[in-house]
């Protein structure tokens, strides 16, 4: 009954989540797949191949089906994982290395795990925005990566110790070559000590890095009626976020859930197909720059953000957004957020909304409260 009631309330709130249309609570966040956000038309589904074989198969299939440029195809993938890597170890993957007698962070190592996104969507557009063309092929490419990351010395020390703890236990239970491999794999999977160590490592890895720089960029082009000569750029954009997080939990606590975080963010967007108030297509370049301070105490968080919007094409149209946000994460799949403040622009600029993000992991739609 409780679940039914929660689902009902969630349904109502989802319907009322964004009454002001273009204001989105996730505006300050970096897009997960940057290529898709610059398209006029959202792709109906996104493929996420994990193998180079799956990637080439899906690409070839879509090209074959349309005898050319795919009409509705979106793909997001991390090319690093398509290949074997001779020198990859778990510690390198976590972002540090054994150099001499010490373990040292390799702050740029996360860059290689970045993802690429591509999309191709065919759409019909109003004739007056692009003379004599009714169908337009939109293509977009983007990437996203973590340029720089520092976990901090204490996290590294803990990961080194936990890795050793895992290996010591593994040596106790697995050092017998007469046990068949399939049986040994199940013995390792069922060992509680190993599982507890895995969970401890997971908790350390889940901590926010002390300092990180994330970068994303994308560009979108269009051309009419499959005529490549008519290609023109629609938009290109860049997102850059610097984050600093200080844990407020005691040092000996493995699971850190209280943080004071500071973010500095900048976005640049060049829109070459901007439809202005007079109905004409023009080029507009805008840059957002600002910051956010956030206090997280377990499931509860409170944040303030300020973002200045600079119209680089028309310096007379500067604006800013100033807002506060309160969030409560009821479970991994269920986030309630309320935001208040001033949005960009001088008209209808009040931010006053409550929203729910549901099914954040995309796998479990059932909500349970502790």
């Amino acid at each position: 009954m409780k679940k039914i009631l929660i689902s009902f309330l969630a349904g109502i709130l989802v319907c009322q989540a964004y009454p002001q249309g273009d204001i989105q609570l996730e505006d300050l966040q970096m897009p997960a797949s940057p290529a898709f956000v610059l398209l006029d038309v959202a792709p109906s589904s996104i493929e996420r191949p994990t193998t180079i074989k799956a990637f080439t198969t899906s690409l070839v299939n879509n090209i074959t089906e349309t005898n050319g440029i795919p009409e509705n195809y979106a793909v997001d993938f991390a090319p690093y994982w398509f290949f074997r890597h001779k020198n990859l170890t778990v510690m390198k993957y976590w972002g540090f290395n054994h150099i001499g007698d010490q373990y040292r962070e390799t702050p740029f190592s996360q860059m290689r795990y970045g993802s690429l996104s591509m999309a191709s969507v065919r759409s019909q557009i109003p004739v007056d925005t692009l003379a004599e063309l009714q169908y337009v092929n939109n293509i977009a490419f983007g990437f996203r990566t973590c340029l720089f990351q520092i976990r901090g010395a204490s996290a590294i020390d803990e990961l080194v110790k936990l890795n050793k703890k895992y290996k010591d236990r593994l040596k106790e239970i697995a050092d017998n070559p007469l046990i068949p491999g399939s049986e040994l794999a199940n013995v390792i999977a069922g060992d509680e000590d190993l599982l507890n160590t895995i969970n401890d490592i997971r908790s350390v890895l889940a901590r926010k890095p002390v300092f990180a720089i994330d970068l994303a960029a994308s560009g979108a082009w269009s051309f009419g009626n499959s005529d490549f000569n008519s290609i023109s750029i629609n938009r290109y954009g860049l997102w850059l976020i610097l984050s600093y997080s200080q844990s407020l939990n005691k040092k000996e606590k493995t699971i850190k859930e209280n943080y004071l975080s500071l973010y500095a963010t900048t976005r640049f967007l060049s829109d070459h197909k901007f439809l202005n108030e007079e109905g004409n297509i023009s080029t507009v370049q805008m840059m957002d720059a600002g910051g956010k301070a956030e206090l997280e105490l377990g499931r509860f968080s409170i944040a303030y953000e300020y973002l200045a919007r600079l119209n680089l094409t028309n310096s007379g149209q500067q604006s800013f957004r100033s807002s506060g946000t309160i969030s409560y994460r009821a479970s991994e799949q269920f986030l309630i957020t309320a935001a208040f403040g001033k949005n960009f622009g001088s008209l209808n600029n009040l931010i006053s909304q409550i929203g729910i993000q549901w099914g954040l992991t995309g796998k479990n739609q059932e909500v349970t409260f502790d």
Binding site: R84, L88, T89, P177, L178, S182, L184, N186
Partner: protein, 137 residues
């Protein structure tokens, strides 16, 4: 797939090196078997990775008729489950034997060397290499 390495004869030293590349928690053991049930552990990887630096494993005469079982355990439970199949497929494994009359030979793990648990997140790679003095007839 069981393979063989020609070690020749006499006091020539035979060496082994193991290179494992994976983002999973990994560890390697090297066992030298005299027969199917008699073995000794001759090496295992350290805390940082699953590699084994080049090391002598004996002379040709000492190793004649024996076989190596190189076992690597890789645990992917910390990785995204959607990645598990691909990560299992792309584990880099090289076993380099040297010192025999034909010089250095690089062996790689094959699909049938891998045993995977039911959930698909733990892999045991068993590479068996027979050490023989002359090529089989």
């Amino acid at each position: 797939m069981r393979e063989h390495y020609i070690i020749g004869q006499g006091a020539r030293p035979i060496s082994l090196e193991v290179k494992i590349g994976t983002p999973g928690l990994a560890h390697t053991w090297v066992y030298l078997f005299s027969d199917e049930t008699t073995f000794e552990k001759i090496a295992e990887s350290g805390d940082d990775d699953a590699n084994i630096a080049k090391m002598p494993i004996g002379t040709a005469d000492e190793l004649d008729g024996k076989f190596l079982k190189i076992r690597t355990s890789v645990d992917f439970r910390l990785m995204d489950p959607e990645q598990w199949p691909q990560l299992i497929e792309t584990i880099f494994c090289e076993y380099i034997l040297s010192g025999g009359p034909e010089g250095e030979q690089v062996f790689r793990c094959q699909a049938d060397d891998k045993s995977i648990n039911g959930e698909g997140n733990i892999v045991i790679i068993d590479k068996i290499i027979d050490l023989i003095q002359s090529p089989p007839a």
